[in-house]
Amino acid sequence: MLELDELTVKYRIAGGEVPAVRGVSLSVPAGEALGLAGESGSGKSSVALALLRLLPRSADVGGRVLLDGEDVLSMKWGRLRAVRWSSASIVFQGAQHGLNPVRRIGDQIAEPLLVHKLASGAVADRRVQELLSQVGLPAWRARSYPHELSGGQRQRVMIAMALACEPQLIIADEPTTALDLMVQAQVLTLIRRLIADHGISLLMISHDLSVLADVCDRLAVMYAGRLVEVGPSSGEFRHPYSQALAAAFPTVGDPASRLAPRGLAGDPPDPQQLPGGCAFHPRCPVALETCATSDVQLRASGAGRTAACVLVGE
């Protein structure tokens, strides 16, 4: 369904460029859910926005983004607008400002239907009711304004909105980040159910690996603009960074995990001043001398898994 082929994103700023994404290739087959994990600054949000060409004009995007075989990046403007939302839609953090504050929820959910001429008037209203019930909101909520809803409810609205045109792919960018844990659990359950019911592909982006492991079949980990590992969510991580990321969250109820050393020293690198060789080596607990000079590509390392580390693979 979705295939990224060496996607690159560079932002032009005064005095140079910032390479936010340095060559990402992945694929999300129909009906599958892929999680994209990484810290802030890893470039994951840039990937999400690049998929539908939603980046600002100061961004240069390279590579190919194949949506059902068509390259989004070279589409004509009219075709792009037709594809947006109807083939692939986005769920942002609705808890913040993802919804227009001065328009009613129902109007915002119905908007893509009107834009893509799929429905109007009473038919559109019925569809809105249907979508609201699918996400567990009462029908009268269509007349509400965003500020009248809680964070969790707003997130459900974003999901309902994303389903409006029955897309084949949903891109969810940090959909549960600003929510309370209980509400987070509800929303994740909802997402799982909906993509299973409708057979939609999902690309979910988050810095929280446990959230991604909950919903997605496979996980990809990004660091400094590149993928460092891709593999099934049920397996163990092989790349030192992924391992550190996974270990960063303590397991509730396991006393041993509280005392075990956690977290990584240092900060993610400045994209304009990347370390030589493997970008992770300054923070890597098992770095070798060669890591400072030789860059590593993804290589096979176990069942259906690839990782970009010298120590991994045969």
């Binding site: 939603l54 607008r81 939302w85 227009n100 504050p101 893509p112 567990g136 009462p138 509800q186």
Partner: protein
């Protein structure tokens, strides 16, 4: 808790009641009345601040005997003690009697009544034009900051903002009314209609012709402000996620701007526009003075020149109270327009 339980719980919730508006309007009206009361008191004391007494100021440049001065003093009630004067003033003002003009020897309210129509015509037209142009251009400029349209719009606004209203009026008078070099003067230099006062449609055209230059002057200086404010409001909105969502839905760029960015940017802009209505009033006074447009502003200006303190006091009171009322109206209207404030 499953989604179904959530739905059940929410179905039991009551829909929020909307009862904020009457209470809000009442609060604002109360505030306005307080402000107006403060204006009345302040006006009273302001006009008695004169070093010496107002009558002496009147006497400057005129030959008046001491008896005439005393007569004038008695007429203005200045020989009475201050508390008594204040009570008298209060009584007069609240019964809509603003005294008698020294210059015209007629009740101030009559003079105001005669002139107010002209001012509303000129200022109203100018405001409509300034708001429309300023908001539209500001929205387009803010939508693509740094573009050529934006740079030109901002530059023009900054220049117009720095140009004193009266100077712009002078320039327009010079170029379009009097004519310069080979260009003939095509607009009249003063008044709101020609001496012969034509009737019917010709009369309307005549007034319109007289209104062009003063209106243009007023619009030019005022619209720059609106443009700059709208522009920055739009820039603030453009960074928000819901704009990206709208784009992602496949809307055209213009539609995203018009349906999403502009309505949100309008709210703080409208508030600011109304807060600055005092500035428009000042501009109107200046423009009416230069072009001798027979409105309230020119009446006020004349009162200052003579000086006719009763007339000055009366027009000042009216102008200030109008501004307060308009501000209050704007507050209430904003409350109605912004859904976030409405149900608060």
């Amino acid at each position: 808790m499953t989604a179904d339980t959530t739905t059940a719980v929410e179905a039991l919730e009551e829909r929020p009641a909307r009862h904020g508006l009457p209470r809000y309007a009442a609060t604002k009206a109360g505030g306005a009345l307080l402000s107006i009361a403060m204006v009345i008191v302040a006006t009273f004391f302001l006009f008695r601040l004169l070093p010496g007494d107002p009558v002496r100021a009147l006497a400057q440049g005129r030959n008046m005997t001491p008896e005439q001065l005393d007569l004038e003093r008695a007429r203005l009630g200045l020989d009475k003690p201050i508390p008594e004067q204040f009570l008298h003033f209060l009584q007069q003002t609240l019964s809509f009697d603003l005294g008698t003009s020294y210059e015209y020897k007629r009740p101030v309210v009559d003079l105001i009544g005669e002139r107010i129509g002209s001012t509303l015509l000129l200022t109203g037209t100018a405001l409509v034009m300034a708001v429309s142009l300023g908001l539209w251009q500001g929205a387009r400029a803010g939508w693509k900051p740094g573009s050529r349209f934006d740079k030109v719009s901002t530059a023009v606004s900054l220049v117009l903002w720095s140009v004193p209203t009266f100077w712009l009026g002078l320039l327009l008078l010079m170029v379009f009314a009097a004519g310069i070099g080979p260009i003939p003067g095509i607009f009249p230099t003063r008044g709101s209609s020609s001496v012969d006062k034509p009737d019917g449609f010709a009369g309307v055209l005549d007034v319109a012709q007289h209104m062009v230059l003063p209106c243009l002057t007023l619009v030019a200086v005022v619209y720059a402000q609106y443009l700059l404010v709208m522009r920055s409001s739009v820039i603030d909105e453009v960074g928000q996620d819901y704009i990206t969502t709208a784009r992602a839905k496949g809307l055209r760029d213009d539609d995203v701007r018009r349906r999403h960015a502009v309505p949100n940017a309008l709210l703080p802009t409208v508030t600011l526009v109304f807060m600055r209505i005092g500035f428009v009033v000042g501009g109107a006074v200046t423009v009416e003075a230069i072009f001798s447009w027979p409105g309230l502003g020119q009446l006020f200006y004349e009162a200052i020149r003579v000086p006719d303190f009763t007339l000055m006091q009366g027009t000042f009171l009216l102008i200030t109270v109008s501004v307060i009322v308009m501000n209050t109206l704007a507050d209430v209207v904003y409350h109605v327009l912004d859904p976030r404030v409405r149900s608060a």
